[in-house]
């Protein structure tokens, strides 16, 4: 029997936002409506658990946008599996973030 992946609703929401959005902290805040004090620690935890991986963008890209370089997060394979399972567990998750994506 395969154990069903389990994440808290907030963690699943953040995972979904990273997957659906631009993948940096502020974009996750915008999509989920969660405060910075919730989003960043949750992202550290997801990264520690191997569900997401952070990577700094190249300086040349940041220079072209006239802004400091951002750290982008992407889902790992384990993260994608966990997200799929979380979406089964929380069916509204996909709809919630889809609405936010449409708005933006």
């Amino acid at each position: 029997m395969v154990a069903e992946p389990k994440l808290s609703h907030t963690a699943a929401l953040i995972l979904r936002a990273i997957h659906a959005g631009d993948g940096y902290g502020f974009s996750v805040m915008e999509m989920t409506g969660l405060p910075s004090g919730t989003v960043y620690p949750a992202m550290r935890r997801l990264e520690r658990d191997g569900l997401i991986r952070g990577q700094w963008e190249r300086q040349s890209i940041a220079d072209a946008g006239q802004r400091p370089p951002r750290k982008y997060y992407k889902l790992t394979k384990t993260g994608q599996t966990t997200l799929q399972a979380s979406e089964r567990r929380y069916p509204l998750l996909a709809k919630l973030t889809a609405v936010e994506v449409d708005r933006s």
Binding site: M1, A3, S36, P41, R44, R48
Partner: protein, 258 residues
């Protein structure tokens, strides 16, 4: 923006040294995104950085600098004893022998009273449980904990008294906060020690995956460098692992640790 960067720099002091620069770069870049927002939103955004910094502080491996590691029980008690001697010497310079300790009253009564008053704060910040260990074994653990508390009681008292000329009326508050922090440290330190040799446990290893925590355990495992056993610390209390649990290893395992 300058004041917001100052807030981030303050929060960055909580982040472990080796991660600090990257942490600050990430938060500064994110702050750039909210530069057009209202002051209130920017302030809320920056204040969130403290929570993130504290998370990193609590979840990072301990500092490897040897002088900060009170690994063996002897070194730990020795350090506390030395700190106590220094605090007593400084406190007695401002309160010569024979003169009553006017600011606070009879020392023993004050120590016990303030320690008792700090208990609610202690309960609010950590649990009093020390984990599951085999019954009727490892009595030295309790002696070691009692030794630490016996040294911390006068250490905080004389430490606060040594600072009395600087802090004046805040002495009682400092003592209250000092006792809460000191007892919290004593409990956290106790939970991270091998119950047999009382050395600090090492080699933290994350075990399991969050996606499997329903049927399997998920948390961190610490090992005694002498090979006495393993400590399982669950990430979230579950039916099978309500609290940290010690798994004793017999002599046949020692070869792996030597």
């Amino acid at each position: 923006m300058r004041i917001h960067l100052a807030v981030l720099r303050t929060a960055a002091r909580l982040v472990p040294g080796e991660q600090r620069a990257e942490w600050f770069a990430e938060w500064s870049a994110e702050l750039w995104q909210v530069r057009q927002s209202g002051e209130r939103r920017k302030a809320r955004f920056c204040l969130g950085s403290f929570r993130d910094a504290l998370w990193l502080r609590r979840n990072s491996p301990p500092d490897p600098r040897p002088w900060l590691r009170l690994e063996s029980p002897g070194r730990c008690l020795g350090f506390l004893g030395l700190a106590l001697a220094v605090c007593v010497a400084i406190a007695l310079r401002s309160h010569p022998p024979g003169s009553p300790l006017r600011p606070v009253g009879p020392p023993l009564l004050v120590m016990l009273g303030m320690a008792a008053m700090s208990l609610p704060a202690l309960l609010a910040t950590t649990s009093l449980g020390l984990g599951e260990y085999p019954v009727n074994r490892y009595g030295w653990r309790w002696a070691f904990l009692a030794g630490k508390i016996a040294l911390l009681l006068p250490l905080v008292f004389f430490g606060a008294l040594a600072l009395w000329p600087l802090i004046g009326r805040a002495l009682v508050h400092l003592m209250w906060i000092g006792y809460a922090i000191a007892f919290r440290w004593a409990l956290v330190d106790q939970r991270r020690r091998c119950p047999q040799c009382l050395r600090l446990l090492k080699h933290p290893a994350p075990i399991g995956e969050p996606s499997h925590m329903f049927l399997e355990w998920y948390g961190t495992e610490f090992a005694c460098v002498k090979g006495h056993g393993l400590l399982h610390v669950p990430e979230i209390p579950t039916v099978s692992f309500r609290t940290q649990t010690w798994m004793r290893l017999d002599r046949s395992w020692r070869a792996l640790f030597s």
